[in-house]
Amino acid sequence: MAGLILMAVILLNLSLLGGRMLKGCISRVALQGFLTALFGIAVHSGTMSFRLMGLGIAAMVVKAAVFPWFLTRAMRATEETEERRPFMGVTLSMSLGIIMVAAGFYLGRVFPVGIVEISRLALPVSYTTILSGLLMMIARRSVLFQATGYLVLENGIYIAGITLVSGFPFLVELGVLLDVIAAVLVMLVVVMQIDRASNGQDGDALSELKG
């Protein structure tokens, strides 16, 4: 089960890197968020406590519903629906995405550090997802796609968190969750403000400050 979820996460990384329509990318990142949260619940199902279950469900709601809803609202407000002129074309991004998969598995072999014996795939997939998120943020001109890339990066770190540490204090986990929500919210509000100020939140409008 865990292995299947992780494979799906990798496939979603590639399809996100190849996506040009914002709406499709939002649904894919929502699905990926749902799967990563499900992964968290699935691997702890043997030792499930009330606290872990609650956090898992909270993460699922945030990743699969709250973030996509924010993104959709920002998309409607800015009327940005597709990436017209990415810095990197689809073919190049997807090829690099495949290299990221290789790099992720390589890193997973060099640093075999997972403590919870869940799935040997978990860390390589986490590294791959973090790298793909970063790649997506670099490759796209549209700021909404950059924000989507940040969510992919967050999903990768979530997988690592589940794999590496099983006993984070509750307060810390809650704080992390709230902070991430706040960060994404701030990003999207800034997106809308940029749109209002420049009529079109193309990253091109964002290249005046130099040096």
Binding site: V113, A160, L171, A205, L209
Partner: protein
């Protein structure tokens, strides 16, 4: 856990919350900003009491398992309260003028007060946390709370700066979280460690038992992640934009203290790495490398700047590099780095406040258009001149002294290449900086731009900071030396 229990820490955390709530109830700009200044004075008072408690027993002050104030936190709390005090006093005059000219509204000032209190609270959380996870939460919150402070004046440029700031720092912070996870994983492998894997005191105790390779990977993530917030090259790209676009009091807070919080987090981990087998030398080497690159890149960009606030921002990058280099050299270099933090924060707060007032009066931040300020603006002109002299390392101001200490440490350690690179960077910055600073201070004043009535706050900010810069350059009081040495011992891992 040993330490003196005290309720002062929760009270310290409550003050910015109270100040934020109270300022929301006030209806006049002067009152709102007055409440912020009052809150800052209370914070400074509490920090001073904590210092007295600490110096009477030389033991950390704790509150439960989660909060702990030791010499390192105390030194930074002291710097924080000084910087926030100067910046809030300055903000009163600055924003009241902007309100009169219609550049901002009362609503903006309320927003400022709320976010400012939030930012101060987050920074206090970073400094008093014993839990590394909570420390991370505090640092992430500084980004979230200060993002809208950058775009208080909602212009396309300030929004661009805000976007860069939030996206670059969020990625940095995400990487730091990965590092925190890896460090937590290393700790939970130590027998008995799974109970409290993120308690800093616990990690320092068991550092010798941590898996060295895991701790190293964690440190790389942490250095890059927290280094982003600290503005170390090449993760600095957000810094010049955010500093130049933010209103002057916000830039003062950013450069005066917020970027130091990034380095503070790195220092906490450096203390852990000091106990990891082979970790001390290795982590210092990395810090020194980032430091040197930051000094050189900062210095080169200083030469080519025309905007006063960007110029100061690159100067911050250079100084963060000097602090990182000091930390990387170890030994007396750590003392120098911590002392340099104090001096740089004082000078940079003064510089940004002066630049803010002068830019506001001239209506432009282009350095070619700001001339002869010593004559036209006796107080703020002097503030800018003194702070720039200090920042570019002119004796006998205190930054000269700490730069000298860092250089001496490099020589003692036989790191001549590092020494050469540092001196080249500092020299370049001096030449580039003075070429801009002298006309701004001494040239012929711009027609029609003069200070009308100097506010009392101006005398307070300029007088207080200049006095610190001058006195600390000539004489280091015993209690301060004791505090900095104790803080340096913590970073170096001496137990």
């Amino acid at each position: 856990m040993t330490g003196t229990p005290s309720l002062l820490i929760p009270v310290l955390l409550a003050v910015p919350v109270m100040a934020g709530v109270l300022s929301m109830l006030a209806r006049r700009a002067g009152v709102i900003l007055g409440i912020l200044a009052g809150g800052t004075c209370v914070i400074a008072g509490i920090v001073f009491s904590l210092f007295l408690m600490w110096s009477s027993g030389q033991a950390p002050i704790v509150s439960g398992m989660w909060f702990r104030v030791d010499a390192l936190s105390l030194l930074h709390l002291g710097i924080l309260s000084g910087v926030v005090m100067m910046a809030t006093v300055f903000s009163r005059g600055h924003f009241v003028r902007e309100l009169e000219s219609g550049a901002i509204t009362l609503r903006d000032i309320r927003k400022f007060a709320l976010l400012w209190s939030g930012a101060v609270l987050s920074m206090i959380v970073i400094l008093v946390s014993n839990n590394l996870g909570l420390m991370w939460v505090g640092l992430e919150s500084t980004t979230v709370t200060t993002a809208f402070l950058v775009s208080l004046h909602r212009t396309p440029h300030s929004l661009e700066a805000t976007w860069k700031y939030i996206i670059v720092c969020s990625v940095g912070i995400a990487l730091a979280f990965m590092g925190t996870l890896l460090m937590g994983a290393a700790a939970s492998r130590v027998p008995g460690g799974e109970l409290q894997p993120l308690m800093w005191t616990r990690l320092v105790e068991v550092a010798g038992l941590l898996d060295p390779s895991l701790a190293r990977i964690a440190f790389i993530f942490l250095l890059v992640g927290y280094g982003t917030k600290a503005g170390l090259v090449p993760m600095h790209t957000w810094l010049p934009d955010a500093h130049s676009q933010a209103p002057a009091p916000v830039s003062a807070l950013f450069s005066g203290f917020m970027i130091n919080t990034g380095l503070y987090c790195i220092m906490r981990y450096q203390a852990i790495m000091a106990g990891v087998p082979g970790g001390a030398e290795w982590s210092r080497g990395l810090l020194a490398a980032f430091g040197i690159v930051s000094i050189l890149v900062g210095a080169i960009f200083i030469i080519f700047q025309s905007n006063l606030k960007r110029f100061l921002a690159y100067c911050s990058i250079e100084h963060m590099g000097i602090i990182a280099l000091g930390l990387g050299l170890g030994g007396s270099g750590i003392f120098a780095a911590l002392f340099h933090s104090l001096n740089h924060s004082t000078a940079k707060t003064l510089a940004f406040c002066s630049a803010g007032r002068l830019g506001q009066a001239h209506g432009i931040h282009d350095m070619a258009e700001i001339r002869g300020t010593l004559r036209s603006f006796p107080v703020w002109g002097a503030g800018l001149w003194i702070s720039l002299l200090a920042l570019f390392g002119v004796a006998p101001l205190s930054i000269f002294f700490t730069e000298f200490l860092v250089a001496r440490r490099a020589m003692e350690a036989g790191r001549f290449l590092v020494l050469t690179a540092m001196l080249a960077g500092v020299g370049l910055a001096f030449i580039g900086g003075m070429r801009k600073a002298i006309p701004m201070a001494m040239g012929s004043p711009v027609d029609g731009v003069r200070e009308g009535k100097t506010r009392t706050g101006a005398y307070v900010v300029v007088g207080f900071s200049s006095a610190i810069l001058l006195v600390l350059g000539l004489y280091l009081p015993g209690p301060l030396t004791g505090l900095i040495s104790a803080a340096a011992a913590i970073v170096e891992g001496v137990r």
